[in-house]
Subunit: 325 residues, 2 copies
């Protein structure tokens, strides 16, 4: 079967506002280190007022993955909602300049383009305070045969479940996918997100997903397990391809009884962990979309994740993957 593009992302379209902070700053705003908190427009204004000078870059979890996938040379498309404002222009520009086909027009009214305040600690860990803005307007009506098309795979992110019509539009996308022989993949976003929507995720993973990309905490939150061995045992009973990232412990790929373990690469200095999982997903899915063996897919994922944590921001700089083969 021929597919128009290899990978379609469906996710929250977000511009990151990145700044370095110390622990005292996180204490003042009451944000646990490493967490992602959804905030409203008023809170977003307040935190921005308290923050130091920042750098703005296109972000969003699955949006980062799509950008990375395109950067690797994969063909891709994207469904996400921005407003027709300057940050929306930036978001779409950064996608289109990588060759990503943008499937939705910016909204002409309503809340502004989403912003995530990414607060980077001295050790490179990131704490996120996210105002979803225009993303909240992504709706069932945006998911159609025309916008989804017939990609080889589509990729949803768990954060989509945080928007009102999210669970329904994910189901609709999966239905369209089934008709076109499109593989349905899901990135679980973060463990708090998994806890917010566990039942719905369990249902989606069992009944709709072909591929799931997640970190160890997210998988444990999904399965109610508390260690990787117990999790792997449960994953093996599902007919789904799982790629589970484990930070410095590498990653493990589980597809029924096929299990591939991949070591992490050595990194001299972690600059910013933003986007590590997203970059892994980009590499892994690039391998998968090009019919590479699972061990190679895991190597690609590791390569991309290793690159992204050695720079500021969640998207791999153009050109950094040129030596990738």
């Amino acid at each position: 079967m021929t597919h128009s593009v290899q990978l379609l992302g469906i996710s929250n379209a977000i511009v990151d506002v990145l700044a370095h902070v110390d622990q005292a700053f996180l204490d003042v705003i009451g944000a646990p280190l490493g967490s992602m908190t959804l905030i409203d427009e008023h809170q977003a204004h307040d935190i921005y007022l308290k923050m130091g000078p920042a750098t703005e870059m296109s972000g969003g979890s699955v949006a980062n993955t799509i950008a990375g996938f395109a950067n690797l040379g994969g063909s891709s498309a994207y469904i996400g909602k921005v407003r027709d404002d300057q940050l929306g222009d930036i978001f779409n520009h950064d996608m289109e300049s990588l060759g990503v086909n943008i499937r939705l027009d910016p909204a002409a009214s309503g809340a502004p383009t989403a912003r995530s305040h990414v607060l980077i600690s001295e050790d490179g860990q990131r704490t996120m305070q996210t105002y979803l803005g225009a993303c909240l307007g992504l709706s069932l009506a945006d998911i159609t045969d025309a916008t989804v098309g017939d990609p080889k795979a589509l990729l949803l992110e768990g954060y989509v479940w945080d928007i009102e019509e999210g669970p329904a539009l994910a189901k609709k996308a999966a239905e369209i996918a089934r008709q076109n022989g499109t593989a349905v993949s899901l990135s679980l976003s973060d463990s708090y997100c998994v806890e917010r929507h566990r039942e719905s995720f369990e249902d989606f993973v069992k009944n709709d997903a072909d591929i799931v990309v997640a970190d160890e905490d997210e998988i444990n939150a999904l399965l109610g397990t508390d260690n990787i061995d117990a999790a792997v045992e449960k994953l093996a009973s599902l007919d789904v391809l799982f790629a589970v990232t484990r930070s410095e412990k590498g990653s493990v790929i589980v597809h029924g009884h096929a299990i591939v373990e991949q070591e992490a690469a050595k990194v001299d200095q972690i600059v910013d962990t933003t986007g590590a999982g997203d970059a892994y997903a980009a590499g892994f899915l690039y391998g998968w979309a090009n019919d590479r063996p699972l061990a190679e897919c895991a190597q690609y994922g590791t390569y991309c994740a290793t690159k992204v944590i050695q720079q500021l921001g969640g998207r791999i700089e153009k050109g950094l993957l040129d030596n990738f083969s």
Copy 2:
């Protein structure tokens, strides 16, 4: 005499749109390596369309200097024109979060906040394509006793001469300064800018300026000289304090017959030269505003310039100057 703040900047308020490019890209858009070209909104749209994914950061030459000055612990204020749009919010936020007192309200109509497309080559050199947008609306009416106040020094940039009322508002600012015992300083921006407005700059340097910060090319363009020795000889005849930066050759301070030479610091790898001169000016003027000897001012300037070329973007990251003493 007591001054309300140490340094007031008057300049073009610009958000930088930074991306790495290769020589082929510069050839396509016809931009000489290292140049700064003024472009209109249509051209800005066109170049952005051609550019890869970018990072956005507040910029502008003298605005960078003011941010660096505030980062060092100096008290400062700023006059520049943004639009009440998202990029304008970003610009003002990044200033105010450093404690800079913003003296003008954003424009409620007219062109959007200015953008400079900063194209960074592999060797760290930057080529700029700048759309002045809202900056073009900075006018004589914005320069008043109330907005200028009585800073210890004010700092204008040569680029202000590129806007219609620029030369007149610079003169007006200098007049207000004279009444308040404010030193008038000028950063010459770039050698092409000096060539565009040479007569007006000559007049301003001779009749209004107390301090001039410039690089070697700009000074040569101003004086019609072709080497540093000839330039220094001419500068010595003027009753103006000159700080002349010379890249890897360091800098030279000339105040009449007092001449101080400062070596450049060794740098392992230049990441991006954006803001080197602006950062030098921040350190130099911080020393000057705190009544330090000229040799120490030059050391401060060198310290800041050395920091900024080892990072992406024209503003020194908050905290990087904490070890400065």
